[in-house]
């Protein structure tokens, strides 16, 4: 990626992560649509021999041979039996029955996590710079589990099973299914087994935001990653005949619009279809569109397809207006004609102009790439939100990372829009989603694993969470683009990842397999359900009292009943010292006076590395709020140098 390393403070990784060489022993397994091995992001110049622990392999298949792997791309496998069992044999004229990426998504995520440095990267000149993954020296192993017809759980489970046997250290999965309980979710089940073998598992939180309760990949042994923006934009202003200008974004590169204003038409007025405003295939009347710039509404069909529809109908250009669902979030696209995306408010203003002027005119002014955009990061509107639908006492998402307009490697099998008519071929493409933020965290986890090989997956996750930031440098709280207001822990989890600070977190909330089994006991899992996850006779001790709130998680979700019910909630936590000896004092913040928070003890002194100290937090609701109310707070332990921060989310139901 370009710009993200600087945005995350990794401008010069060597200065921050001195043991960069140990990262080259870390292997990131990416379950996705495969890989385009010719991408320069998988160049292995300067990399030493493949780690001795590596057991993976490079499987041959359609348009892919073992020689496509190297010391960067050290493994490539594909899993299609489940897919073919349901949809029939793969048509190798349409998709490669091999690790080869026909989609682009897998190449994008793998190169974001661990791509080698590639100078002069850009998409048609947009987002120019030296592209590099988060962990440029980590190794990559791809496991192709997603096909044209989807990603099937039996394939995903086998890929995880195989990746663990191959000895990956990090698993990156930018995919999700429904929100079924952990024991029924193949990603959660596979991730449990991977975690047991010391593998860090990061997953995308889902793109179903900004609705609440919209998260995927909720298991506490998975790091659930939401998406935020970068300080980079691709402005393309809409300039109307009435002199008004409106902000937009675009990645269009091609023939310019006429130097003068062009006629403007609203798609709904150039169609006989009831949903003509959406610019769907076959809905625009060419006579009414030819030579004009068309205003389309977002929704239903792909944004870039709308542009293709307008172009096919003879339109000069397109303005794509957000609806309430996306609000003011602007996602840039490599449109096939001069096109730009504008927020909902701007879209409404343009529609007013259209209705008021008998001869409406417009043009689009493309400004290229702008950096230093503020405020940034903001939480992406599409980023899925908490609370946790399966276990409300576990706060999710865990963290956010860059996921909007991210440039990274792309497949040579299709164009940047992915549309069949797009015959362009690019080495890098700019796309958005929590699919993009997840591999950022996967790569950062690899950096941490390289710097601290002894850290468990839980310790790595804790370091990333307790050092995440929730305020800008000016002290203002991170914004949520969906509301224009400060985001909450249900939006950003512990906050935005900050890998520089995560390297030295001071203390971590560690977790063992037994802790997770205790959590499952607290959920009253049956012996069979637990055995299905642990693969042994783990049993809950009928004499022991288990509590979900005792899971040593780096964040807090506290749930009260609006009418009566328990008003006191106790959470116990244990901190492990991973830094120098020190005395940590607790500080508390809360947005509400209705819950009294007390911590005992208020000071923790650590004399040596790996020493553990416990504390108890008591939340005492002295008042109530209406159902579905939320409020938030924060617990911080500090020795004056390290700050170990944890968000608290209070919910009334």
């Amino acid at each position: 990626t370009t710009r993200t390393p600087e945005f995350l403070g990794l401008g010069k990784t060597e200065s921050v992560y001195p043991e960069s060489d140990s990262v080259s022993d870390v292997v990131i397994g990416v379950l996705d649509t495969g890989v385009w091995p010719e991408s320069k992001s998988f160049d292995d110049t300067g990399l030493g021999p493949v780690p001795g622990s590596w057991k993976g392999s490079c499987e041959a298949g359609t348009n892919f041979t073992a020689s496509n792997c190297n010391r960067k791309l050290i493994g490539a496998r594909f899993f299609s039996k489940g897919y073919e069992a349901t949809l029939g044999p793969i048509d190798t004229s349409r998709e490669s029955k091999s690790p080869r990426d026909d989609d682009g998504h897998g190449t994008h995520t793998a190169s974001t996590a661990a791509g080698s440095e590639v100078e002069g990267a850009s998409l048609f000149g947009y987002a120019p710079g030296t592209a590099r993954g988060m962990a440029t020296r980590a190794r990559v192993a791809v496991y192709k589990v997603c096909w044209v017809g989807g990603c099937f759980s039996s394939d995903i489970l086998k890929a995880i099973d195989q990746a663990v046997e191959d000895n990956v250290n990090v698993l990156s999965m930018s995919l999700g299914g429904g929100m079924s309980d952990y024991y029924r979710d193949s990603v959660a089940v596979g991730a449990f087994g991977a975690m047991e073998k010391g593998v860090f598992v990061s997953c995308s939180a889902g793109n179903a935001g900004p609705s609440s309760f919209s998260l995927s990949n909720l298991a506490p042994w998975i790091t659930t990653v939401g998406a935020g923006t970068l300080d980079r934009d691709f402005p393309a202003y809409v300039s109307l005949g009435n002199g008004m200008n409106y902000s937009g974004v675009s990645l269009y590169r091609g023939n310019s619009l006429p130097g003068t204003l062009s006629p403007l038409v609203y798609a709904a007025n150039a169609s006989n279809a009831t949903n003509g405003n959406l610019c769907m295939m076959g809905t625009l009347i060419p006579e009414k569109v030819a030579g004009k710039i068309v205003l389309c509404d977002r929704g239903v069909n792909a944004r870039v397809q709308k542009g293709a529809v307008v172009k096919a109908a003879g339109g000069l250009g397109m303005i794509l207006a957000n609806t309430a669902a996306n609000g003011e979030e602007l996602v840039a696209d490599a449109h096939l004609l001069p096109g730009t995306s504008v927020g909902q408010k701007s879209g409404d203003e343009i529609k007013k102009y259209l209705a008021s002027d008998p001869k409406p005119t417009v043009t689009i002014l493309f400004e290229g790439t702008k950096v230093g955009i503020q405020p940034s990061p903001v939480v992406a509107a599409f980023s899925s939100r908490g609370p946790n639908t399966i276990t409300p006492e576990i706060l999710k998402p865990d963290i956010i990372a860059p996921g909007v307009n991210i440039i990274a490697g792309w497949s040579g099998a299709l164009g940047p829009t992915g549309l069949p008519i797009d015959s362009r071929r690019v080495a890098f493409n700019i796309i958005s989603g929590t699919s993009m933020s997840c591999p950022h965290v996967s790569g950062l986890a690899a950096l941490l694993k390289g710097a601290h090989p002894e850290w468990s997956p839980a310790a790595i996750r804790s370091a990333l969470m307790t050092t995440a930031y929730t305020v800008y440098k000016n002290g203002q709280r991170i914004l949520d683009i969906a509301t224009g207001k400060p985001s909450t822990p249900f939006d950003h989890g512990a906050g935005h990842v900050d890998p520089v600070v995560a390297l030295d977190p001071g203390l971590v909330y560690d977790l063992t397999v037994d802790d997770y089994v205790g959590f499952l006991c607290a959920l009253h899992y049956t012996d069979e359900q637990i055995s299905g996850l642990t693969r042994n006779k783990s049993r809950c001790d009928t004499k022991q009292k288990y509590s979900v709130t005792d899971l040593n998680y780096p964040s807090f979700a506290v749930n009260f009943l609006s009418t009566g019910g328990s008003t006191v909630a106790k959470y116990s936590r244990t901190l492990t010292n991973v830094g120098p000896p020190g005395t940590y004092k607790v500080s508390l913040k809360s947005e509400t006076q209705l819950v009294k928070i007390s911590v005992a003890p208020e000071t923790l002194t650590f004399g040596q590395l790996s020493e553990k100290k416990s504390y108890t937090v008591t939340f005492n609701a002295v008042g109530s709020m209406p159902p579905n109310s939320n409020s938030f707070g924060r617990i911080e332990w500090s020795d004056g140098k390290h700050v170990v921060g944890s968000p608290i989310a209070f919910s009334w139901s």
Binding site: S154, V164, V189, G190
Partner: protein, 83 residues
Amino acid sequence: VEENQKTTYIIRMAKYQMPAAFEHHSHWYDSSLKSVSDSAEMLYTYNNVVHGFSTKLTPQEADSLKTRPGVLSVWPELRYELH
């Protein structure tokens, strides 16, 4: 028609309950599968993060497999999507 009725299932097994008669768990899995279907083929066996296998079965076959000793769960396949 019967083939079309079949769905892919993921079967999780309590490997530690493998009967002594079997030398290898894959033989036990295969025997369990053959006890409910003559034609079903193993798609995958899982050995590391879960113990079990996947295969295509009719709903009736899936239900009878649930009753076999050592079978922890029989879940229908789910379709996931990229984010």
